[in-house]
Every structure is written in structure tokens, then in C-alpha cells.
Subunit: 210 residues, 4 copies
């Protein structure tokens, strides 16, 4: 089997991992909001009553916004990795399938958190989901950098930056989760701050800017 | 990191923003219609009874058609922008993730509007959703044109056309929403007319024709 | 705006119409089967009882299979057209968005048909859905062939074949729907036969073989 | 119709089969987990009670993990085939649509298995779903290798490897299903072992490594 053909095949695999991932992320992102139910029409007879029924949806909306941020951050993280890969192989595909499994769990852990916002168990399960997402990305990078999957023209400091970024983020998440000893609201607030930082704060390294 | 590699990576990012967007739009479009429930079989014993149960679904079907038009218009607007971009970066990706968040909210605000078609609150929330969609597209364009993301060969009048189009459309939507002071039906009728105009009316500028 | 840039942009539009369509078809196809509910565990105490509860799902499964065939046929028909297009423009995109709207309605009309399999109204609505799908494809082809969207190297007889195929198919569907004057089961049986013909029967023309 | 145009068209078809498949797999994978319902908030008043309600979800989570593995294995299997194809034609597309129909059935058979984990009927239906998936992949390969769809530069032993792999896997699945004569738990355990083997065990042939 000539090398050119092999590379072409592998390249397509990388594309299909990306395509499947985009699909899973798209469905998960849309399903997140699906649990926002409109109140039943029979129980409502005035504008005031409608607002009264809509207000309790606000914390739920915030929980979904938080999970949308989570999905956005990890979508971006996976994309950055895939952009630096030259090809994919079967093992790498399975690591990313594991990553996608963690993605599909997020609508469930989010609903759980939105429903039981004062329960530490709900928060811990949500956090475990984030840990799983991070672990899979670390696994993907470690595998890729050890099996020559990373592009030749990638800058030498990429390895340090890529792992460093996940480790810092996960440490912050762990600290945020630990805050539930005091209050789950404190935990959630801290986690949202971390996520907003990753979404909108200025980047320290040019390399991670895409 | 050589420029060529950087451009290649950024190009792929642009593709993946497009792919994720197509996924989110596809799911949102299909979910819109998911709320059209077939009537329960037990309550129906003749063709006449079936029609009687189906007729009340008509306003709901119209609300979904309106939202499908909304999604179509904004899908087209986003696509036109992405077509003029040369590359994507992290910040631009986040603006588009914000745009997609607004997209995922539309099935909720649509159901709310269909359920409470005579309530101004429902109409205002629906309108806010459209405002959010428009604001994100404006933000995307402003960011892109200020950070050199727009393709070099784009015509000079593109900037004026792109912003002008959104501002005109949003002014019309705002006027339509304000009509709810008189009647929400008037508002909805006016908004549908705006949308049909954008979907089928002849274009004044060749530049916006794709 | 140089012609090359314009063509590149239009080409991407065509790709995104295809991508959005694949997404909508994928969601619609998967949602079709979502209405197959597993029986409630509490009501079942033996293997025999489980079979007894599963058997009534069979006509529903057949209705879904029929709709999956419908979606498959129209996905293929749209794809054949898009393959012959050189570029897309705004109007063409809107025709295809209309086509996709008809696609998203199919899970609803299918559930309706599965629930009210002996009601002519349900069958007529299902048939109207198929007519709408066909009409949009005809509209797409007419627009494309009149506005120079069809590739230059397309064979001259393509126009006749493309329209002829849809007209023959739609005439058969109309005849099938009319059979509901005698029995809706007869209609459904005939429609399934048409669809199986289009899915597996030998093609008379080489041109339509992809 | 010149050969170049024909090849280009067919190539795009192959891409769109892949795109539709990625979409269907993405939706099916995400829907699998959708049946994990958060317990109702009213019934729960302490962390202990929440855990008590979450624990019964564990076997269900395992059933979903098993089906996610199934989908991952068959997604990979289909991808490997498509990577070796040079083009697609109408018949091949229909075989893959049949394959996708089997994919969309999996969320249903999975829910059935999760709900009736001690019932042989549920296990047999789940197994039949796997058989259908395998049969479609075999059909795809047989059609492709007999109609010159396989790439010219594919190694000669590919045919033997491709069929051998499916036959071995399906024999193991059949054996696993037969174990339900003793216990459905034994069956499920065995099937999960087969799947973990295909997901993480070292490959014996380099050719199947992507």
C-alpha cells in the first residue's frame, strides 16, 4: 500500500472524526436548551402570570448557558488538537469517541445540576463530566505526540502549552468543585468565571489563539 | 510556525465553525416541528373529528414556519459572512458560538410564542431572540473587519452593505415588535412580511445575492 | 469582485446547502424511529407479554420504514441535482430551504399516518408532504436550468430526464393516494411498492444511476 | 458525459454518504443518553435520597455505554470501507441508507434492552440489530468489490481481511447472544467484552489499523 494512498485515507479519517464531533456537539448543544419547557397555557391568564412562570426558568437558563460554554471550550480544545494532527489512526479515533461519549453525557449532568442546584452530588457529577472531558483531551494529546501524529511543522513548545493549558484549567475546575464544601452556588459561580475567562479573556500565548 | 501552516489551520477552523453551525441549524430546524404533536388516537372516531383536532395545530404550524424563515435568514446571513472571511481565530469562533447559542434558544421562544400568541411578553422574548441573533452577526462583522479577517479581494462597499443590511432588518423587526402595543397578531403578521421579503423579494444589490 | 473569487464563494455555498441538508435529513431520519416507545416495564411479567406488547409496534415500524425510504429517495434526488450544479445563489438556497422545511414535516405526517392508519385525512396529509417535496425539487431544477446554474458539461438530455423522473414518480404517488378511496392500506401498499422500485429496481437510464 | 465529470460527481456522492452517516451517527449517539432521565425534584429531600434515585440509572448507563461502543465500532467499520472506495453509485448509496436505518433502530433496541435486561426477547432484538448492521456492511463490501468501486491501489489481501473481520465479529456476537440460554447478563457481559476487544485490543493486521 503506497504511502500517498495511506496518507489520503488517514486524512479523510481525521476529517470524519471532526465531522462526527461537530455533529455530536451540535446535537448536544441544541438538546441542552430543549429542557426549557414553556409553561402550560391553561394555568396562565395574564401577562403577570406568564412572567411569574417564566422567572423560575432563569437559573435553568443559566445552567444551560454554563454547559454551552463548557461545550464551546471543549469543542475549541478538540479542534485545536485536530488542527495540529497530520493524520488519525484507529486508536486516536477511539480516544475521540470516548471524548464524544463524555460530551453526550453533559445534557444529562446539566439537567441534574439545574434540577438539584443545591445538592453537592449533582455538582460533583457535573464536575466529573468535565474531568472526563479533560482527561480524554489529555489522552488524545499524549497519544498523538508519542505516535508521531502531530504535524512536523508544529512549534516545539506546543507540547508544553497544550498539556499546561488543560492542567491549569482542570486544577481551577477542581478548586471550583471543592468550593461546594461551602456552597454549591459558590462552586457554580467560580466555574462560570473560569469558563468566561477561557471564552473571552485575552490569551497569553499567540499559539493558542485559534 | 510558518505562515502557510498557520493559514491552513485557520482555514480548517473556518470550516469547522461552518460545520458546527450547519449542525446546530439542522437540529434546531428539525426540532421546531417536533412540537407538532399528533392528536391522541383514543379521542378520535371519525375523519371529521380528526380534522377538528388538526385545525388547532394550524397557528402552531405558522409559528414554526415563521421560525424556520428566521433560521433560514440568519443561516444565510452567517454564511455570507463566513464566505468573505479568509480565516478564523479564537475570538471570532466565540462570537459565532454566541450566535449559535441564540439559534438554540429559538425553538424555546417559538414554542412560547405559539402557546401564548396573544401575550406581549412572549412576543417580546421572541423579538429579543432575533435581536440577539442580529447583534451577534454585527459583532462578528465588526470584529472581522477590524482584525483583517475579511478577504483581501472583497469589494470596498461590502462593509457598508453588510452593516446596513442588518441595521435595516433589525429596525424593521423592532418596528414590528412595537406593533404589539396594538395587537400581537399585527406584530407577527408584520414580522412574517419582513421575513418573506428577505426570503423571496428581489435583491437591490448584486453583492448580497449569494 | 473578480470572477474567480465569486465562483469560490458560490461553490462554498453549494457545499453548505449540502451540509445543512445532510444535517436535516440525518436528524429527521433518526427522529422517525424515536416514536417507537419501549413498552412500560411495570405492565410486563413474562417473555410472552413482552412479545404481545411489541407486536403492535410492527405497523408503526413499517410506517417509519416507508418514511425512511421516502427520505432516502428525496435525499438522493436532491443530491443528484446538487451534483449537477456549478454554484448556488440566494434564490436557489431558499428553494432548498423550502425543500428542507418539507423534510422536517415528514416525522409529523408519519406519526399521524402511523397513529391513524385507516383515516384518509392522515394519508392525504402524508401524500401532500410528498407532493411538496417533489414540487420543491422541480422548482429547484427549473430555477437552476433557467439561470445557468447547471454545469456546462451536463448532457443535453439531462433536463428531460430530471423533470420526467419527478413527474412519473409524482403521478404514481398521486395514483397511490387516490387508491385510498377504496382502502388506505391499498394506498400505503402501493406507495411502498413505488418506493421500493425507486430504491432497488434496475435503472432504465445510465444518467440517473448515481 | 465525460469521465472526469462523472468521477467528480461520484466523488461528491461518497462525501455526502459520509456526511449523512456522520449526522445519523451523531444524532443516534446523543439520543442514546437522552433516555437517562434526572429523577423528579419533588421526591428528593437529601443527598442520600438523590444517590438512591441515581443508582438505579447505573445499569441503564452501562447499556448506553455498550450501544455507544456498538455505534463506534460500526462507524469505524463503515469509515474504513468508504476510505477504500473510489466513488459511489446509487446502489451503494442505498446499501448505506439501509445501514443507517439499522443505526437509527439502535436507540430503540437499546432502550428495550435497558428496560428488560432479563428478557431474552429484548436481547435477541438487540442482537438482530447488530446482525443487520453487520449484514449491511458485508453487502456494501461485496457490492463494492464486484462493481469496481474499490480503489485500484488497495492491497490484494484487503478483500479477505474485510470479510474475515466481519464474519469473526458476527460469529462472536452470535455466540454471545446464544449465551442468553443460560443468562442474559452472561450474554451482555460477553458482548461488552467483544466490543472492548475491538475498541482497545491490539490489532493483528496493520491494514485494519485506521
Amino acid at each position: 500500500m503506497p504511502t500517498t494512498a495511506y496518507n489520503r485515507i488517514s486524512g479523510q479519517s481525521l476529517e470524519r472524526i471532526a465531522a462526527l464531533s461537530d455533529g455530536v456537539f451540535a446535537v448536544a448543544m441544541t438538546l441542552l436548551v430543549l429542557d426549557l419547557h414553556a409553561p402550560a397555557a391553561e394555568a396562565i391568564h395574564s401577562e403577570g402570570e406568564l412572567w411569574q412562570k417564566l422567572l423560575p426558568l432563569l437559573p435553568r437558563l443559566l445552567a444551560y448557558l454554563m454547559s454551552f460554554l463548557t461545550l464551546g471550550i471543549f469543542w475549541m480544545g478538540q479542534q485545536t488538537q485536530l488542527n495540529h494532527f497530520e493524520r488519525a489512526d484507529r486508536n486516536l479515533a477511539w480516544v475521540h469517541l470516548g471524548f464524544l461519549f463524555a460530551v453526550t453525557l453533559l445534557p444529562f449532568t446539566t439537567t441534574l445540576l439545574a434540577e438539584f442546584i443545591e445538592y453537592r452530588s449533582a455538582l460533583l457529577l457535573y464536575w466529573l463530566n468535565i474531568v472526563l472531558l479533560g482527561a480524554m483531551l489529555v489522552g488524545s494529546w499524549l497519544y498523538a505526540s508519542r505516535h508521531g501524529v502531530v504535524k512536523q511543522d508544529a512549534p516545539p513548545e506546543l507540547n508544553r502549552l497544550m498539556l499546561g493549558r488543560v492542567i491549569v484549567a482542570q486544577s481551577l475546575y477542581a478548586f471550583g468543585a471543592a468550593l461546594c464544601l461551602f456552597s454549591t452556588y459558590l462552586s457554580i459561580g467560580f466555574i462560570v468565571l473560569i469558563q468566561l475567562h477561557y471564552a473571552i479573556a485575552p490569551r497569553t500565548s499567540r499559539l493558542l489563539r485559534y
